[in-house]
């Protein structure tokens, strides 16, 4: 049997040349964000009455939600199907999902004209609106993710609460609260874990329902009544590739050996998932006979072909190969292709496919929009690095042989 895995805090220093570069990109994004808040959305974006949604919705929100799918897919695998061997990847995936959804919420707020009214859906309901459903689900799911993360916080601080100065008098009380919290969560965590998976299935698919109401404004290659199903299936297939990509990147960054045996087992599930997605995508194309649009050379036909070939077909073939799954490089490339495919699919659905009836200019994101989007991505990576340094997230082989059960994830 392999060595037991145990989540540990990473010890490497926070700042490296790469981290400094990421920080600068993040600051650049913040500058443009400030302009947006002082002078309005029009001051930094290329949005118009023709193109009301840009990359802040297409990438930050739609693709952001899809790429955070690692959280619920690993939770389903590890907790619900109870496959213990995947425990090592659950915490990193949970952290990514938590950060990812937090930034989805922040991005929505940035894009809202009246960001300070973001809470309105809580009191003004519209059950007919797909956006209402997405909004409510995401709101609840973010809360669920924070609750799922709490046991990691209690594990980090129980017996180690050490506040400075006068506050140190509270140490005992806080420790007691943490212990009570830990016990409570231990008993109830499964409720939140199942809820997390249900909520994810709901809003991942409803995100696809969003564009259906745009009707003929959306290119027929993408506009289909099965969009919700396609969005859900693509979210299923991108979950594990995200986990694999992040795990390999983190291993490299922290000088660890990649957990190839776990990752290649995860990889073996990606092939079938991608296959199902591709089958529905192509089936839909043949039933609606939209392949006729592929015979003409347009932006839409080119983008659709890239999305299918580079983002689905090639990685599907790669994940079905034993050799690729056994090598970290192969796994990495295949995973990045799947991620690219889903990212492109969301961009295509929300931006490329959208052609308003009175279009005078096509949409391309402004420097400001790109800066903010890149800034958010960098902030997410920096926060990820901060969290894995200060909380036990990434599992390493447990050489000391400490009882594994002690650190098993609560609710498992």
């Amino acid at each position: 049997m392999e060595l037991a895995m145990k989540p540990e805090q990473m010890k490497k220093k926070f700042f490296t040349p790469w981290v400094i570069a990421l920080t600068l990109i993040a600051i650049n994004g913040l500058i443009f964000l400030a302009i947006r808040f002082f002078w309005g959305i029009g001051a930094v974006t290329n949005l118009s009455n023709e193109h009301p949604w840009g990359i802040w919705i297409g990438i930050d929100v739609a693709a952001g939600v899809a790429l955070a799918a690692g959280g619920f897919t690993t939770a389903a695998l590890g907790h619900i199907m109870h496959r213990d061997k995947y425990e090592a990847v659950i915490r990193p995936a949970l952290l990514t999902a938590m950060l990812g959804y937090t930034f989805v919420a922040v991005s929505v707020a940035v894009d809202l004209g009246r960001y300070y009214s973001i809470w309105h859906p809580l009191i003004y309901w519209n059950g007919n609106s797909a956006l209402f459903e997405v909004g409510m689900c995401v709101m609840i799911y973010v809360t669920v993710l924070y609750i799922e993360f709490l046991p990691i916080v209690t594990e980090r601080f129980i017996g180690r609460v050490n506040l400075p100065g006068v506050l140190s008098r509270l140490n005992g009380t806080i420790d007691k609260i943490l212990r009570a919290l830990d016990r409570g969560l231990n008993k109830t965590m499964f409720i939140f874990i199942i809820a997390g998976v249900v909520l994810s299935c709901l809003h991942q698919s409803s995100l696809g329902t969003l564009m259906i109401i745009a009707g003929p404004k959306m290119h027929p290659l993408w506009q289909t009544p099965v969009l919700p199903l396609l969005f859900l299936l693509s979210a299923f297939s991108v979950g594990f590739p995200m986990v694999i990509m992040e795990s390999i990147t983190a291993s490299k960054s922290f000088g660890l050996k990649p957990e190839t045996h776990i990752l290649s087992k995860l990889g073996s599930m990606v092939g079938p998932l991608l296959g199902i997605y591709l089958a529905f995508k192509l089936g839909d194309m043949f039933i609606r006979e939209t392949f006729v649009y592929l015979t003409e050379l347009t932006t839409e036909s080119v983008m659709f072909s890239i999305e299918i070939l580079l983002g689905v077909v090639i990685p599907l073939r790669m994940f079905l190969s034993n050799e690729v799954r056994k090598s970290p490089t192969g796994l990495y490339i295949a995973s990045v292709l799947v991620i690219f495919g889903v990212l492109l699919n969301r961009i295509n659905n929300f931006l490329v496919a959208y052609t308003p009836p009175y279009e005078t200019a096509s949409y391309f994101p402004s420097i400001g929009e790109i800066s903010v989007t890149l800034g958010f991505v960098c902030m997410e990576i920096l926060l990820y690095r901060f969290f894995v340094k200060h909380f036990p997230i990434i599992s390493i082989p447990d050489k000391a042989g400490i009882n594994k059960a002690k650190y098993s994830i609560k609710g498992a």
């Binding site: 009246r114 960001y115 609560k410």
Partner: protein, 304 residues
């Protein structure tokens, strides 16, 4: 959950189940908490006879004037140079008149007034996340400033590309669109554009009557009009109806089917959330799988 025994687990599952059932019992009433969307038999409409319009743009002025927008001098609206480009309604004006070539008589261009069509089954009402849009008994589709969060989903949804947004306001940006002079008509007044129109291009009346009027016009003057009332059936019907001498597509009207714009998305939404049964069923299914997998693991552990 390692420490938790089977009875505890069952107990918790039951609790969750009861809570969920309670929620679902309360759900139908909550689901009705959709925005007002009345389709009154007596709803009003406007018939636009584009063969009559002279392009004086007085309607643009009256619209701005009655909605407290900067209207300027009415004389300035005689300026014809503005017709060199096609305009769309936006935050500076909720209606615009555009000029099109008349194939039958080049010296008499076709003028076309553009504003919200006030759909019978409006996409904006269905789409709006907070239900800030509503379809009133009068036929008007109006926007509620106090609910709007500025997400611009109405703009994505609208098949006529009508709602416009204040992109250059950092605080309280509004969605701009024709409100069918909701406040004026409520007090028995005509919509501002209808009232000022000097040549009776615009006829305000009950939508069902207007369709009759339009049919008679087409019957009596078959050379003057195309046999098509735009808005009678498009996207399930609109309160504003158009007659023209030239194909509507050549007048920049979008080609739309008869199905209401929100039809497909609403059936999907209501399918997924039919009395909350599908989500609850999924929850129960996953709970079951979780319980079985856990016990399988446990019995395997005991066997070793």
């Amino acid at each position: 959950m390692n420490k938790q025994n089977r009875r505890d687990f069952l107990k918790s599952v039951t609790t969750v189940g009861i809570t969920a059932a309670g929620l679902s019992a309360a759900a139908p009433t909550k689901l009705n908490a959709a925005p007002e969307n009345v389709l009154s038999e007596d709803r009003m409409g406007v018939l636009v006879d584009t063969t009559v319009c002279i392009g004086c743009r007085k309607c643009e002025w009256a619209c701005k004037e009655s909605h407290g927008m900067h209207a300027g001098d009415i004389e300035d609206y005689d300026e014809k140079g503005i017709f060199n480009s096609r305009r769309r309604p936006d935050h500076t004006g909720h209606t615009v008149v555009n000029e099109y070539e008349n194939d039958k008589n080049r010296s008499l261009p076709i003028y076309l007034k553009v504003q919200c069509m006030h759909c019978d089954r409006p996409a904006c009402v269905s789409a709006c996340i907070v239900g800030a849009f509503s379809k009133k008994e009068s036929g008007a589709v109006i926007w509620d400033d106090s609910k709007c969060i500025g997400c611009r989903y109405c703009m994505v949804a609208c098949p006529f590309q009508i709602p416009a947004f204040d992109y250059h306001k950092a605080l309280e940006p509004d969605i701009h669109k024709c409100d069918f002079c909701f406040d004026r008509t409520k007090n028995g007044k005509l919509p501002a554009c209808v009232e000022i129109c000097p040549v009776e291009t615009l006829t305000y009346g009950k939508r069902s009557d207007l369709i009759q009027v339009a049919r008679n016009k087409i019957k009596n003057y078959p050379d003057r009009y195309l046999d098509h009332i735009f808005g009678e059936t498009e996207v399930g019907g609109t309160s504003w109806l158009y007659l023209a001498s030239k194909e509507f597509e050549k007048l920049d009207f979008p080609k739309l089917g008869k199905n209401p714009a929100p039809g497909v998305s609403e059936s999907i939404q209501h399918g997924i959330f039919a009395y909350f049964i599908p989500p609850i069923a999924l929850y129960a299914l996953l709970g079951g799988i979780m319980w079985i997998s856990k016990n399988r693991d446990k019995s395997e552990g005991e066997a070793h």
